[in-house]
């Protein structure tokens, strides 16, 4: 199945990525080969994929979960130490005039 440039553009928006026209051409071609590779999941395996049955999600029994207790956490200033220019707020460029 050939992947179109429009589909790649839609995927890029979902993935929060942007591509130049040249990158888009290249990615579309590469992605075609990658999807063809992913499609090999549909080839038959010895014994038949019909044997493969849904086991459902492995749910953790509710009683096995630990109680949700508030515990000491890292201090805010440490957690935010990588934010450039943090001063109680995240500073970004003005985008609305």
């Amino acid at each position: 199945m050939a992947v179109t440039k429009t589909e790649i553009e839609k995927l890029a928006r979902l993935a929060k990525l942007s591509f130049s026209d040249e990158e888009l051409e290249r990615f579309t071609a590469e992605f075609d080969a990658i999807i063809a590779f992913a499609d090999t999941i549909n080839q038959s395996i010895e014994g038949g994929t019909e044997q493969i049955r849904s086991v459902g999600a492995r749910m953790v029994p509710f009683e096995a979960l630990r109680p949700d207790e508030v515990a000491p956490s890292l201090p805010n200033d440490k957690i935010l130490s990588n934010v450039e220019g943090y001063n109680g707020f995240f500073s970004v460029e003005r985008s609305k005039k």
Binding site: I8, L11, A12, L14, A15, K16, L17, S18, F19, F27, E30, F31, A33, I34, I35, A36, F37, A38, D39, T40, I41, N42, Q43, I45, E46, G47, T49, Q51, I52, R53, S54, V55, L74, K78, I79, L80, S81, N82, V83, E84, F90, V92, E93, S95
Partner: protein, 486 residues
């Protein structure tokens, strides 16, 4: 043969050498070779020397664990409090975590001396370490070849004696394959055996931290130190391994049932197949029972792996938005635009490809056909391995279908590179342990790796068989002692 951890620890205790002297020796080696090899991307010499001084005090007080004062390295995706941790990606440029990964915390508590952080494929996505934003590390055995990946730097520093041991991470073979390419030992433990807390996530249901070393015994020593449950990683398990695995390595293979599955040998380089079969013959000669087994679902393990890993990666890497850490685009028109530009500038092509594939297989209309189906086949692969371990103690397989690729191997498309993971990904899909040990070299002098695969939490058998092979084959880690060859 390189001096192992036990002997170095013994020399430190006898005061034949101090931890500071040992650390300085390694710093000299790094200063000499790293400009060529590019195996370290962040050096932590000041911290190493302080840790070595502290180690010397601990040793003097006779209160030192085995790893105390031993110089080592960490892959650049393992968080180190206050020290750069970038996953070799521009998007994490300048990031300094504010906590230690549990595996590193455990080693630090034992007096480990951290020399630096090692080069890797960006976000551990690759099989050659060439997707690193710092450029590729070079294979110390022959610098015209890649180290393998994604823990390429961690394999190279051990091979070139720029660290006694290192930690790497393995999502689809990222410890074992570079260990194979650089001729060292690499252990991928059972999923859950080592806490993933502080390991920057790629494929969370597949990732696992493990050691790269020059001997099986050293791998066991490091695994002993880092294993164990952790309440900060809900997928970790506090499995009772009994005694120290490093002290239980001496076991004969007589009577052991060792499986060989033909699926692991499809399309393998004949030189590699021949070396692995020589090893199988050695086990058989020493009394092991060789079982020819089948694992039919392995035929589609590769697309299963790439679908699951990329789906998880597309979710895990959603957090990189330029707001809380790392790179941020300098000009933008809206917050949405800032995030898109930051991500597009910050991620390399391979990471983008995998995020896009993950987004695709999770998107409406394709979820059932790809992601859900991959999860179902994963269950089938698990069942096949479960059945195999009913009758076998371990499996023998090649680590990779090829030896190291030449650097900048232009002929390889992304998919061709993905295909080189064929022997390692089934182990991650099933969450079982496996080790890669040196198994000779090909006609170009490049190392070949053999994989020994075990049942869940049976690292003991894996290590025992590996140790038996190491002691009886005459093949030692292909470490390069004399400095990188030009």
């Amino acid at each position: 043969m390189r001096t192992g951890i036990s002997e170095l620890a013994s020399r430190l205790r006898k005061r034949e050498i101090s931890a500071v002297e040992l650390t300085k020796t390694y710093i000299n080696n790094i200063e000499k070779l790293n400009p060529t090899l590019n195996a370290y991307v962040h050096l932590t010499f000041d911290i190493a020397l302080k840790a070595a001084e502290q180690a010397d005090r601990m040793i003097k007080e006779d209160d030192a664990p085995l790893l105390c004062g031993i110089p080592m390295a960490l892959k650049d995706n393992i968080c180190t409090d206050g020290l750069p941790t970038t996953c070799c990606s521009k998007i994490l440029d300048g990031f300094k975590p504010y906590y230690d990964a549990t595996a590193w915390e455990k080693l630090k508590a034992r007096g480990a001396v951290l020399l630096g952080k090692t080069n890797m494929d960006e976000f551990a996505m690759g099989s050659t370490s060439e997707t690193s934003c710092y450029g590729a590390p070079l294979n110390p055995i022959n610098t015209a070849y890649v180290t393998g990946g994604s823990s390429g730097g961690s394999a190279a520093v051990v091979c070139a004696d720029l660290a006694v041991y290192s930690l790497g991470s393995d999502t689809g073979g990222s410890i074992r394959q570079p260990a194979s390419f650089c001729g060292v030992v690499g252990l991928k433990p059972t999923y859950g055996a080592v806490s993933r807390y502080g390991l920057i996530a790629y494929g969370s249901s597949l990732d696992q931290i493990g050691p790269l070393t020059t001997s099986v015994k050293d791998a066991a020593i490091v695994f002993d130190a880092i294993k164990g449950g952790d309440k900060r990683d809900q997928t970790s398990v506090d499995h009772d391994y009994g005694a120290s695995l490093a002290e239980c390595l001496d076991r004969d293979v007589k009577g052991m049932r060792i499986g060989v599955a033909e699926e692991f040998f499809d399309g393998i380089n004949p030189e590699i197949k021949s070396k692995i079969m020589e090893a199988v013959a050695l086990f058989e000669k020493n009394g092991a029972i060789i079982e020819n087994i089948r694992l039919p679902a392995l035929k589609i393990a590769l697309p299963v792996y790439y679908i699951i890993a990329c789906a998880e990666a597309s979710s895990n890497l959603g957090r990189y938005d330029g707001i809380r850490y790392g790179h941020r685009a300098s000009s933008y028109t809206s917050i949405e635009d800032m995030i898109m530009k930051t991500r597009s500038e910050g991620f390399g092509d391979e990471v983008k490809r995998r995020i896009m594939l993950g987004t695709y297989v999770l998107s409406s209309g394709y979820y059932d056909a790809y992601y859900k189906k991959a999860c179902l086949i994963r269950e089938e692969i698990n069942r096949e391995f479960d059945a195999v371990f009913e009758k076998c103690d371990a499996l023998i397989a090649p680590t990779a279908p090829n030896t190291a690729f030449p650097l900048n191997y232009k002929g390889a498309s992304p998919v061709e590179i993905y295909l080189s993971d064929i022997c390692t990904v089934p182990v991650n899909i099933a969450g079982i342990p496996a080790i890669s040990v040196p198994c000779g070299e090909d006609s170009r002098g490049l190392p070949i790796g053999m994989q020994i695969i075990g049942n869940k939490f049976d690292e003991a058998t894996v290590l025992q068989i590996a140790n038996f092979y190491e002691q009886n084959s005459g093949i030692k880690a292909g470490v390069y002692e004399g400095g990188a060859r030009a």
